[in-house]
């Protein structure tokens, strides 16, 4: 009994990769978001370029099991100054031998050079405060604020920006662009959002002091008050459990107090710099596809078994873009 319950309870919050692997819907059931993703046609999935995947290999765990975390970097025009620095740091193998130094419950896991003395590669850009918000073009509407899906709306949908009025405590409008959620106020500019698994750039007090060498990922409730205050550069698409389940640091702000608590980083590489056979392959469900519109509508209006009161809407961080691993078919 309990397991049937949990099937229904949990399906709605499965992380995207898991959701994409859900079983197809039983004929009698109203499809869950996971069912809709599982039924999406191949043409609705978009391959993520190996050059946009950052592969972090941690030291094996206590049982000798490998720990690989794969991060997808954000597309232009967002955060490209910091992402350019991250590409240079990876090419220089700068992170090899650094470590995960901070794990704060319901907040972030952070990694980089714990000594804060390791010299940075030459040529890193100083990215100005203005880059936290990016000019965008406005078109149509993606997800109506009532969470309902108007089929006709989608028949004429054109790729690119599409703002929808969906005000909450942190923004007046939201949009999905090339597989990523963004927030905005005026429909002409936008910024990425601090959802679970998003990867950001640590900085010092001055807003232009984040180089990209010190990175963090969100492992708790979305700290949206960081939006427009820190740069976001990507999201974890695989292996976040290797970070989120680490022991919490007992020092201030979740820093590990003893050096031996830190988790060594063996290497961080751009996937396209790995041997072809070792390159991970992922794809995301196109946010411009009808499948995504159905999925988003289902996330906002749970009508599948178990639910007695659909919310009617959904927080942008509760509509994670489905991402799945691709088996190498070569």
């Amino acid at each position: 009994m309990t397991h049937r319950l949990l099937t229904a309870v949990a399906a709605l919050a499965l992380t995207a990769p898991s959701a994409a692997q859900d079983k197809p819907p039983a004929p009698a059931e109203i499809p869950s978001p996971g069912d809709i993703v599982a039924a999406a046609p191949a043409g609705d999935w978009v391959a993520i370029a190996a050059s946009d995947l950052l592969v972090m290999d941690l030291a094996p765990d206590a049982a000798g099991r490998p720990r690989r975390v794969v991060i997808q970097l954000m597309p232009a025009p967002f955060s490209q100054g910091w992402i350019g620095n991250i590409r240079k740091l990876a090419a220089a193998h700068w992170w090899d031998g650094t470590s995960i130094n901070r794990v704060q419950d319901n907040y972030v896991v952070q990694w980089g050079d714990a000594t804060e003395k390791k010299p940075l590669p030459a040529g890193l850009a100083v990215v100005p405060e203005g880059e936290y918000v990016t000019a965008t073009k406005a078109e149509g509407g993606v997800i109506p604020s009532d969470g309902k899906l108007p089929p006709m709306h989608w028949s004429g949908y054109s790729p690119g920006w599409a703002w929808t009025d969906h005000a909450d405590a942190y923004a007046k409008k939201y949009s999905y662009f090339r597989g990523w959620p963004f927030a905005g106020d005026d429909g002409r500019s936008g910024w990425p959002v601090h959802c679970y698994g998003m990867v950001g750039v640590g900085r010092n007090m001055p807003p232009d002091t984040g180089s990209g060498a010190e990175l963090y990922t969100v492992i708790g409730h979305a700290p949206r008050h960081l939006d427009r205050n820190i740069a976001l550069v990507g999201r974890v698409v695989s292996g976040i459990e290797h970070l989120s389940s680490l022991p919490r640091g007992t020092g201030g702000l979740g820093f590990y107090e003893n050096e031996n608590e830190r988790v060594p980083i063996a290497s961080i590489r751009i996937a396209s710099d790995l041997p072809p056979a070792e390159q991970p392959k992922f794809e995301y469900l196109s946010t411009e596809s009808r499948s995504f519109a159905k999925y988003a509508d289902a996330r906002a209006n749970r009508r599948d078994p178990f639910f007695i009161k659909p919310a009617g809407e959904a927080d942008i961080c509760n509509i994670p873009v489905p991402v799945r691993a691709v088996a190498d078919s070569r």
Copy 2:
């Protein structure tokens, strides 16, 4: 340098107990939410009755360290049917020898009888669907929707319900009542919200099938779509790291696939049933205090160092009610 940054970055998301232990503000600085909590007068703190604390002792960890999780049960008139069952289950020592069976990343940790065959104590109530929402009385306003703090409003504040218009994807109004956040639509009824650390009652498909024997806590982004679909009965006030940092289950929905992966529960007791010397003591910052109003305003409008763009508002789950341990002074 990095550490100065992190001080500012992290202060805004410290869990309440930690925040309550923050250093007092430096004179020149605009106080952070943690600073405001640390400066709150003793009279603004409310002791939590031992009879409202559920103490879960897990088996010691691999290094032999104790793992205690303390849960505060919700006050009347909310969820009392399920909470009555939980009191009976604890009095019967029903959970002793059961285990933590499921850890799903960015979702929940769940515990209870993995065999699903252990007989329940006699006399547990069957709580009807209607209990997911509770009638309330409306008064004044707690947190203005713009997050600003109007001092005069507070001078005449009277305890009890106080709804504020603060619409988001999941409700039209929000309120704090006796230290707990609640959501509502009409100002005359309300329901508890699925924020990080909240504890809920697993159930089967029929909405009245949750007894309280199968419990879960949220360890990821608030799954607010569960509001009004599952009963919430409390929140973890201490030791959530013993749950949130457990290895994720590799089975469907995060269930542990092997029996030896489950974490044994040594005992679950109501604190008042423990020997006086072993009873944990906690207190929460009165949500009817001026200190809480200042704290909530600061959570919504970060003006302390590091921040360049205050959000102006805050998601209800990003204004956790400060709770702190009390040293035994006897």
